[in-house]
Amino acid sequence: MARNGVFSRRRRAERVEELEELLPLTESTNEVHVLAVDDSLVDRIVIERLLKITSCKVTTVDSGMRALKYLGLDEEETSVRIDGLKVDLIITDYCMPGMTGYDLLKKIKGSSFREIPVVIMSSENVLTRIDRCLEEGAEDFLLKPVKLSDVKRLKSYMFNEDRFREEQKGMNKRKLPETSSDDSSTPTLSPSPSLSSSPSPSPSPSPSLDLSSTSSPKALSSSLSIDSLAHSTDSSMPSSPTRRLKMSSQDL
């Protein structure tokens, strides 16, 4: 099983390279290009500003359908993408009319763009919702209202380290129980009802476990011993604090 995992990962890296060659020439830029999806105008303006201030290029759309269209994944099978700029990250609201953020996530993860990390934003701190999204392959989950520190953190762990290096590390990963078709580089996560709510330093509106990025992973580690786990399994630890949190709870 682990061997298959290694195979598919290597394949995936190759496929990504092929794709990049096929894509129309993009401006060679070091800037991260983010596609932000939100039906609320106010939120689109805020998220755009948050991203721009952290030196990202931003494209905002108001629906999942428009996002798919932008990527060239819509029903009309547009073979030529409308915009030549490669998308490095997709950040989407969860609650949207028509296609929800979750639906969009599934569509993207089931497409040729599945390598693009997808981050979900939601105003509701619902553990089952977070679980569903992470299981479907979301990179991280941000609680609204989104703050500057959230975006900075996201950008820094996603794009400041060499992502390819992450992939290579993943090949030496210890064997973890995986579900059938999941070939993502992070181990599959199943819902962990054992996750108890722990006191977090940042003010939290709901009593449930606050996985918002304002509470640093360190704060929660005292109850979940993330640090000790991190030392023993550092090569396989995904960089997303939310995923790390869910992983360690599985090991408890």
């Binding site: 609320s40 105008l41 106010v42 303006i45 500003r49 209202p145 703050k147």
Partner: protein, 156 residues
């Protein structure tokens, strides 16, 4: 306006902000918006807030027309408007408006028409207060900017 005028304006702004925070009208998310304002986007806060006002007034009109309809029964639609209102209010730090919307949503989920009507009135009141206060704040900030421009005219 020179010297002391500037100081007074700055004090007025701080006092008004402190009051709004103390009253729970605004929360820390408003400060987040201020962090997003700089030389490249010097009017960011007032721009976002003005768009928030436009969107909110549309929502308030929709909510009122839904409830005024004698045959009204579409609580689900009302819930959709309220979710939007809650989301945008939360994004700009309009805490009290947001909280009233949340209570409004509860009444709506209970199909409680009278409760909804009461919540709508309270919402309109809170929204008016917020709008007046923020306009006041923006006015003083504008005055301060003008005073600064007069005090420090562009040197050649």
């Amino acid at each position: 306006m020179l010297g002391l005028g500037m100081e007074r304006l700055r004090a007025d702004i701080n006092r008004l902000l402190a009051l709004l925070f103390h009253q729970g009208v605004l929360d820390e998310q408003y400060l987040q918006l201020q962090q997003l304002q700089d030389e490249s986007s010097p009017n960011f806060v007032s721009e976002v807030v003005n768009i928030y006002f436009q969107e909110s007034e549309k929502l308030l009109r929709n909510l009122r027309s839904l409830l005024m309809d004698r045959e009204f029964s579409d609580y689900k639609k009302m819930g959709v408007h309220l979710n939007q209102f809650i989301g945008s209010s939360s994004s700009i730090g309009a805490k009290r408006v947001r909280n009233v919307c949340v209570a409004f949503r509860v009444a709506s989920e209970q199909n409680n028409r009278l409760g909804c009507l009461r919540a709508l009135e309270l919402l309109e009141h809170e929204y008016c207060y917020l709008k007046n206060k923020l306009h006041e704040l923006f006015q003083i900030e504008q005055q301060r900017l003008l005073a600064a421009a007069v005090r420090y005219p562009a040197q050649h």
